[in-house]
């Protein structure tokens, strides 16, 4: 009884649609049909119901087919309501089919399971070398500050590598560089600084540029590789000061190593800058408190810099009374080692995939 009641309650007997229907057989077909369709649990059951209610031999089909034989007075009612009931049942059938199809799909999906914890199919992912990644970081910082990125040859003339950078032939600073020579006047550049000279030969101030690239020195031990990477920076403009250099490098250090980093300048000597400085950044491992990395000093040397020496301007024909400038040079490996905690320089050139894949 209760089942009946519930069904009764769920079947929408639309009195409005069937208003005026007097034939109990049609009304009964309609109501029973809707109830049966509602209760179908499988697509097969539903197909049986379709045949039973809407098939060629169904009661309703027969009734509609018999219209011409009915008394004229009954024909309009049977015609009108018979077709109405047929349409209603067809719609109900369609809607039941959709519901059952969806339910069966859902049921099928429930069974179609994979072990989601097994690994996915590989879409290979490679790695940029840590030197390249670091070089790009440096480039992007300076590009953001309005610098251009320029390149020069790795095999250089003695003139560009030394002489025009204020290292005359009898200058002791030359002995700081263990140089690879190709012949008397051609060598592997020992720093990226000759790019400064080449740019100043070609272009007039204002100049804001960096020059990344490979450099070579005849030195190979735990802390030196015969090839390494530098990024040179050069600014030449009216009114450029040492304080500007300090601010520029402070910005760089903060962007590269974190906002909380400080820098300090120490006087130093380079032949092509004067005044010359070495630049330290507060140790990122101990935050300047002193640890093994910074040898208890709280500071880590990151680069050399200074104001472009008037002699260098002399070589390239820039008037040092009108223009001033600063230059800096940093080792990419050094920056990468500090930033990523790499403890052996030689790892960069062993190209061991176990190292390269970490980054």
């Amino acid at each position: 009884m209760s089942e009946w009641c519930s069904k009764e309650a769920t079947i929408p007997v639309d009195n409005h649609i069937l208003q005026g229907l007097t034939r109990p057989d049609l009304k009964e077909i309609y109501e029973r049909g809707l109830r049966d369709l509602e209760s179908a649990r499988t697509l097969a059951e539903l197909e049986d119901l379709r045949v039973r209610y809407l098939g060629r031999k169904a009661e309703l089909t027969n009734l509609l087919r018999s219209i011409p034989e009915l008394p004229a007075s009954e024909r309009p009612e049977v015609g009108r309501f018979g077709n109405l009931v047929k349409r209603e049942l067809e719609q109900a059938l369609e809607s039941a089919r959709k519901d059952l199809e969806q339910a069966e799909l859902v049921k099928g999906l429930e069974k179609d399971r994979v072990d989601v914890t097994l690994p996915g199919r590989p879409w290979p992912l490679g790695h940029l070398h840590l030197i390249e990644q670091t070089r790009r970081e440096i480039e992007d910082i300076y590009v953001g500050m309005g610098y251009d990125v320029v390149q020069g040859p790795e095999i250089e003339t003695d003139y560009h590598n030394f002489e025009a950078l204020n290292h005359p032939e009898d200058h002791p600073a030359r002995s700081l560089h263990d140089t690879f020579f190709v012949d008397e006047t051609i060598l592997l550049r020992t720093h990226t600084s000759p790019v400064q000279v080449r740019v100043m030969e070609q272009q007039s101030p204002p100049l804001y540029l960096i020059a990344p690239g490979k450099t070579y020195r005849r030195d190979s031990d735990a802390t030196h590789t015969p090839m390494f990477h530098q990024v040179e920076g050069l600014v030449v403009d009216r009114g450029v000061t040492l304080a500007d250099l300090k601010g520029t490098l402070d910005t760089f250090a903060k962007k590269m190593f974190g906002e909380e980093r400080q820098i300090r300048l120490r006087p130093h000597y380079f032949p092509f800058t004067e005044p010359s400085v070495e630049v330290d950044v507060s140790c990122m491992a101990c935050n300047g408190q002193g640890c093994r990395l910074c040898k208890r000093s709280g500071w880590l040397e990151i680069l050399g810099a200074g104001m472009v020496d008037p002699n260098v301007f002399g070589f390239v024909g820039i008037d040092p009374e009108e223009y001033s400038g600063f230059a800096f040079g940093m080792g990419v490996e050094r920056i990468a080692m500090l930033k990523y905690g790499v403890n052996d320089l030689r790892l960069f050139y062993e190209n061991d995939l176990r190292f390269l894949r970490q980054f």
Binding site: P153, A173, F180, R266, Y269, E274, P275, D352, L353
Partner: protein
């Protein structure tokens, strides 16, 4: 340069703790590598345990042959009993005693101890135990006049600090205790004390009677001075001198050698002492070496000289390589009685060249190579004569032989006050500038808007106004500078299109699973042969390095391949299965002119990659394909597509590639690279297994080709229509040829044709293969109709039949 604080205190009061002094020095341009305590810890509680003692009695230890039991008066009520193991201990000696409660260098604590049953309350010290020499034979015997119980520290440096400083090459004046002390005085604002005048006994004999000197090479020797000291007794140096020589990192030799080293360390002027008896003909000639002339230097090495090297010779032979090292023959020995003392100034260029030619450096040459003040010579000779006559006796012959081109006098520079702030970006007052420069030893005169600065000759590095600016800011303090930014021009900055393209290529390859390598630019010439390159090929003629570190790194690479193969082999040895590496770097081509001119070789940016092992990582569900020719070609296509470059592929006969599985990459008809499986013989040479595909592309050429800008084309309003076409052609007909004919015959509406399937087998007959093509037709003016496409397709077939012998596959 090692500088004991006690020695620096001869010239300047140092109140700062050593660590703080080191930090001040570092921040004013003198890097301090190490600060370390020397000797016993420097505190009073320790110091009072080091005293002078008198050995009152000495007896043999009853139970030990080598030990003595001594009664030592250390100024207390009764003498102490001290057991001593030194063979030279004797009654009546004045000795150094350390009492229980003290700590020695290195942390050794002294306590009361029983030695073979005898209680010892103290220890008699050797010079080594105080760090005055490396090794001692016995205990130190002190001067008799020192009183029992006196603190030892009043006579000898029981405790000290050592600064090890790194002096930049522009500051040879700081390669001396005096120079460093002057720097310390300037930065700590302390007065600087010059030495007292040096006095010494002078004989009536004029020096010219002892020696004659000629300088036929004045260009290499601007000043040469000498004195003669007769009647010296060569012997060990006194303790204080040994202590200083040892602390400075040198080895005490004898009083004469130690004095020359001591003066060099004090003043920065190297000296050389000759045994006058060994100077043949009593004649010194400062001349260029004769070609082939030989000398056996103090380090025992026989050296052959060339005529651009300067020597100090006597009438017969060279006895010193000037400024660098003397010969064994002219060395001062224990039997020497008369000494020729040389103080000279040599051209730094010549010293540098000789040092590098002979691979020989010394404390003396490291000073000369940086350039020294010729005015150091007179005080150095005076100081040496005073010390030598004091320690070794003898008399100095009257006068000095002193040959110089012209005296070097202090010079004047002008410093514009405004210029300083222009360069520094901070205002420094004129008074501050003047004060700083005076502290550094300059004389300064106010001349209105500028300072007139007289530079002392020991500051040879101060030549220009900018040098004075640097001195001002160095001492003023870089920490006081503000951090400002230069005014950048508007709209500047950025990567060039080429730079962006290189990054894109790298990203594309990393995105395809390749890992970037960075390989040395110099390679082993053996590798070129391993690549089977014929000797006449340009790749086999690399730029050679004259002074390589090793033959394995002696030529500049002409290709990236060998370095990548070696890198792959190294990883292979580490049991890596899947080795997919790429590199972007330069190759060097001496036969082509550089864009930079100047006789430089051409440098080309190239991209190279190697693929070995499966394309993808192992997976439980599917098997990975091997890295074969088509894997490599696919990557090349990916790169070219990324650059917007279209390329053709043709066969190639590169000797390092598999003859049948390699292609050259052609862009606009020119070779822009190659891709292929590497020749098995090459792989053998590199210890790599078969089946490795590699490629190299000329990035400069490719970056120049690709279009800068993609212009919009409407592909949507009138959509493209695809048509498949399966053609049966001769097996040896290359796909490229088929596509070219299709492209020519397809008319303007055929936008693209590509091969999507290849079949060889019974269905198409022997000697034939089927290529399935997908043709894409599109008009930019209308939607193409079915009939139109069919017509285009059917018009194509007779052409293909006629030109290629192609049949439609049924």
């Amino acid at each position: 340069m090692k500088a004991p604080l006690s020695w620096l205190r001869d010239y300047v009061d140092i109140a700062l703790p050593p660590e703080e002094l080191a930090s001040r020095l570092a921040l004013t341009g003198t890097e301090v590598e190490r600060v370390e305590p020397l000797g016993a810890p420097e505190d009073d509680a320790v110091q009072k345990h080091f005293v002078v003692g008198k050995v009152v009695e000495r007896e043999k230890h009853p139970d030990a042959d080598k030990l003595s039991v001594c009664r030592v008066d250390v100024g207390e009520e009764a003498p102490r009993t001290i057991v001593c193991g030194a063979p030279n201990v004797a009654a009546g000696q004045t000795v150094a005693v350390v009492l229980p409660g003290a700590v020695l260098a290195g942390g050794m604590k002294i306590g009361e101890a029983k030695l073979r049953g005898v209680r010892s309350s103290g220890m008699i010290l050797s010079a080594a135990e105080l760090g005055f020499e490396a090794k001692s034979e016995g205990i130190m015997v002190l001067p008799e006049e020192w009183q029992a119980g006196e603190p030892l520290g009043e006579h000898l440096p029981v405790s000290d600090w050592l600064l090890d400083v790194e002096v930049t090459p522009n500051r040879p004046d700081c390669l001396s205790i005096k120079g460093l002390a002057r720097e310390i005085a300037a930065i700590t604002e302390q007065p600087f004390a010059e030495e007292q005048d040096f006095g010494f006994p002078v004989s009536e004999r004029p020096v010219e009677e002892d020696i004659s000197i000629e300088v036929p090479a004045p260009d290499l020797c601007p000043r040469y001075a000498a004195r003669v000291i007769r009647g010296v007794t060569v012997g060990p140096s006194p303790l204080w001198l040994k202590a200083r020589i040892t602390a400075a990192g040198m080895r005490p030799v004898n009083n004469v050698v130690d004095v020359t080293n001591y003066v060099m360390w004090s003043l920065g002027q190297p000296l050389h002492a000759f045994d006058l008896a060994s100077v043949a003909g009593g004649k010194i000639i400062v001349r260029r070496a004769r070609p082939g002339e030989g000398i056996r230097t103090l380090d025992g090495t026989q050296r052959t000289l060339t005529d651009d090297m300067l020597v100090i010779a006597d009438a017969e032979k060279p006895s010193v390589i000037a400024g660098i090292m003397g010969s064994i023959d002219s060395e001062v020995t224990d039997n020497t009685t008369d000494i020729l003392l040389e103080a000279a100034n040599f051209a730094r260029f010549s010293i540098l060249k000789t040092e590098s030619a002979l691979s020989l450096r010394s404390e003396s040459s490291t000073r000369f190579e940086k350039g020294l003040d010729p005015n150091l010579i007179p005080p150095a000779l005076d100081m040496a004569c005073a010390l030598l006559t004091e320690l070794a006796g003898g008399e100095v012959s009257r006068g000095t032989v002193d040959i110089q081109a012209g005296p070097v006098e202090p010079w004047q520079l002008e410093l514009r006050v405004a210029r300083v702030s222009q360069i520094l970006g901070i205002e420094v007052t004129k008074a501050e500038m003047a004060d700083i420069l005076r502290r550094l030893g300059c004389e300064v005169e106010d001349a209105g808007d500028r300072l007139r600065v007289t530079v002392p000759t020991f500051r040879l590095d101060l030549e220009r106004e900018i040098d004075l600016v640097e001195e001002v800011v160095r001492i003023y303090g870089l920490e006081r500078l503000p951090a400002t930014q230069p005014c950048r021009p508007s709209g500047g900055g950025g990567l060039t299109e080429g730079q962006r393209k290189v990054r894109r290529v790298e990203d594309l390859l990393a995105g395809a699973g390749l890992t970037q390598a960075v390989v040395y630019s110099f390679v082993d010439p053996v590798w070129l042969a391993a690549l089977r390159l014929p000797p006449e090929s340009p790749q086999a003629k690399p730029v050679a390095i004259r002074n390589p570190l090793s033959v394995e790194q002696s030529v500049m690479r002409t290709m990236l391949l060998p370095g990548l193969l070696a890198t792959a082999a190294r990883n292979r040895a580490m049991r890596e299965e899947r080795i997919h590496l790429f590199e972007v770097g330069r190759t060097f081509h001496p036969e082509q002119p550089s864009e930079f001119g100047g006789g430089l070789p051409r440098e080309v940016n190239r991209l190279g990659f190697v693929l070995s092992g499966p394309v993808a990582e192992e997976h439980w569900e599917e098997e990975s394909r091997p890295s074969d020719f088509y894997a490599g070609k696919g990557l090349v296509e990916r790169v070219l597509q990324g650059l917007g470059v279209t390329a053709g592929y043709g066969r190639t006969d590169k000797p390092f590639l598999h003859p049948g599985k390699a292609a050259q990459v052609l862009v606009d008809g020119e070779e822009a690279g190659w891709v292929g499986e590497v020749h098995p013989l090459v792989l053998q040479a590199f210890d790599l297994p078969e089946g490795l595909v590699a490629a190299e592309l000329d990035l400069d050429a490719l970056c120049a080709k690709g279009s800068a800008l993609t212009v919009f084309e409407d592909l949507i309003t009138y959509p493209a229509v695809e048509q498949d076409l399966a053609l049966v052609v001769d097996q040896n007909l290359q796909a490229d040829r088929v596509l070219r004919v299709v492209a020519e015959a397809g008319g303007p509406l055929l936008r693209e044709a590509r091969v999507f399937d290849v079949y060889e087998g019974p269905q198409v007959g022997t000697g034939r293969r089927s290529l399935a093509l997908r043709l894409t037709f599109r008009s930019s003016e209308r939607t193409l109709s079915e009939e139109e496409i069919n017509r285009l397709r059917s018009e194509l077939l007779p052409v293909l039949r006629e030109r290629l012998g192609a049949e439609l596959r049924s």
